[in-house]
């Protein structure tokens, strides 16, 4: 039986992890490779790295990081952030990334999804969508949630599915950071309009939130950052808890 996936997300800048990360062993805090290894040992099912570097030098450092990650970890990992062309994708995949996540660039030029899917296969194209409810309707936001677009989330989901996306990473801006649980309503609505695997993101605060999202929606993965980085929830404990709640878990 297919297992539900627990996916920690790490923000990367200039090859280092950013955002507060608090482990007992602070030596690993800034080093994405060490942190990734820790999560693999904790039985994470996949990893997502989001690069927030704006400089060219930082992007080169990212490729070196992907090469190191590929050497050290033997589970799938996705790289996102600042990818805007098939050449960007080629460089990251060649360095050893399994998937790439594209967000704003796909909204600006939807054909990018098709180009990547055709050249490298659907399985490596994760379309990340930041969505927010405005007056009862879900809209897509870009540029790290700073710019609202006129695209309705459900329409955009259908479009990228047709263009060849292999997976969706849906972040609810309404729920992100609240720790009140995942955006069940939005995730249910998206599952009704497409058959792609969905990773839920935004709102996880406690173990019950994961049980809820896997019970109430069809998502196959759940992503979180700070609750894992700050050791509020240990992945091994979370998985044990999910198993007790009869969720299919590795």
């Amino acid at each position: 039986m297919l297992k539900k996936r627990i996916i920690p997300c790490l923000d990367i800048k200039d090859g280092k992890t950013v955002k507060g990360i608090q482990f007992e062993d602070l030596r690993i805090a800034g080093d994405p490779v060490e942190l990734a290894k820790k999560y693999v040992n904790d039985s994470a099912d996949e990893l997502v790295f989001l690069d927030v570097t704006a400089t060219l030098e930082g992007r080169k450092t990212l490729i070196e990081l992907v090469e190191k990650l590929s050497l050290e970890i033997n589970i799938p990992f996705t790289i996102g952030g600042g990818i805007s062309s098939a050449q960007d994708v080629e460089a990251l995949l060649k360095a050893g990334a399994d998937k790439v996540s594209i967000n704003s660039a796909a909204v600006r030029r939807p054909e990018l999804v098709r180009e990547i899917a055709q050249q490298f296969g659907n399985q490596c194209v994760v379309v990340a969508i930041d969505t927010k409810n405005i007056n009862g309707e879900d809209y897509v936001f870009i540029n790290g949630g700073k710019i609202q677009t006129q695209l309705k989330t459900l329409e955009w989901v259908k479009t990228v599915a047709d263009l060849g996306a292999g997976e969706l990473l849906l972040t609810s801006m309404d729920f992100d950071g609240t720790k009140n649980g995942f955006d069940i309503r939005m995730l249910q609505n998206v599952s009704q309009v497409c058959h792609l695997p969905i990773i839920a993101s935004g709102g996880a605060g406690k173990m019950e939130d994961f049980t809820e999202v896997f019970t109430e929606t069809k998502v196959t993965g759940a992503l979180a950052a700070s609750i894992f980085h700050f050791n509020e929830i240990k992945i091994v404990d979370l998985k044990e808890n999910l198993k007790q709640n009869k969720i299919s878990i590795r």
């Binding site: 099912d45 995949l93 490298f120």
Partner: protein, 192 residues
Amino acid sequence: MIAIIDYVAGNVKSVENAVKKLGYETLITSNPEEIGNAEKVIFPGVGEASTAMNYLRLKKLDELIPTLKQPFLGICLGQQLLCDFSEEGNAKCLGIFNLKVKKFPSTDIAPHTGWNNLQKMNGPLLEGISETDTFYFVHSYYCEIGENTTSECDYILPFSATLQKDNFYGTQFHPEKSGDVGSLVLQNFLKL
């Protein structure tokens, strides 16, 4: 020397890293002579079936591969291309396994993405693996079940998770991305 067949869209790097970690020397190549002389050959797969077959024809590997006598492992699309025919781009494939590759019905979530376990296991590739072990899959097309099936996986329907005929082995999952149990499967192949 372990030859890893290079074909533009493949995730050769991860496979190379995984094999090197187990202490073997590798060569990434699409040169028929180098592939023919290798102790073992790994054919990693990512991408689209008809495009990959065109590439194999271009490099004359479609003629070479069926004649190889050393242990040969096709991974993911690599396993599918060892079958007769794939619905993906209606591609005529290499014909080692007398099976068709079909698309998952569109009634459920596809691609089949994530960790899943195997059933009805046999053969040397899966020595030491139990039904509770899980492997990483990501695919929209699957190999049917037939006489060469050496394990099954169940997603929407049962399909061939691994195949074997003589020196030809296939895994639908990615051993190089399946943690420690994946390494064990690679190790089993490499010590054949």
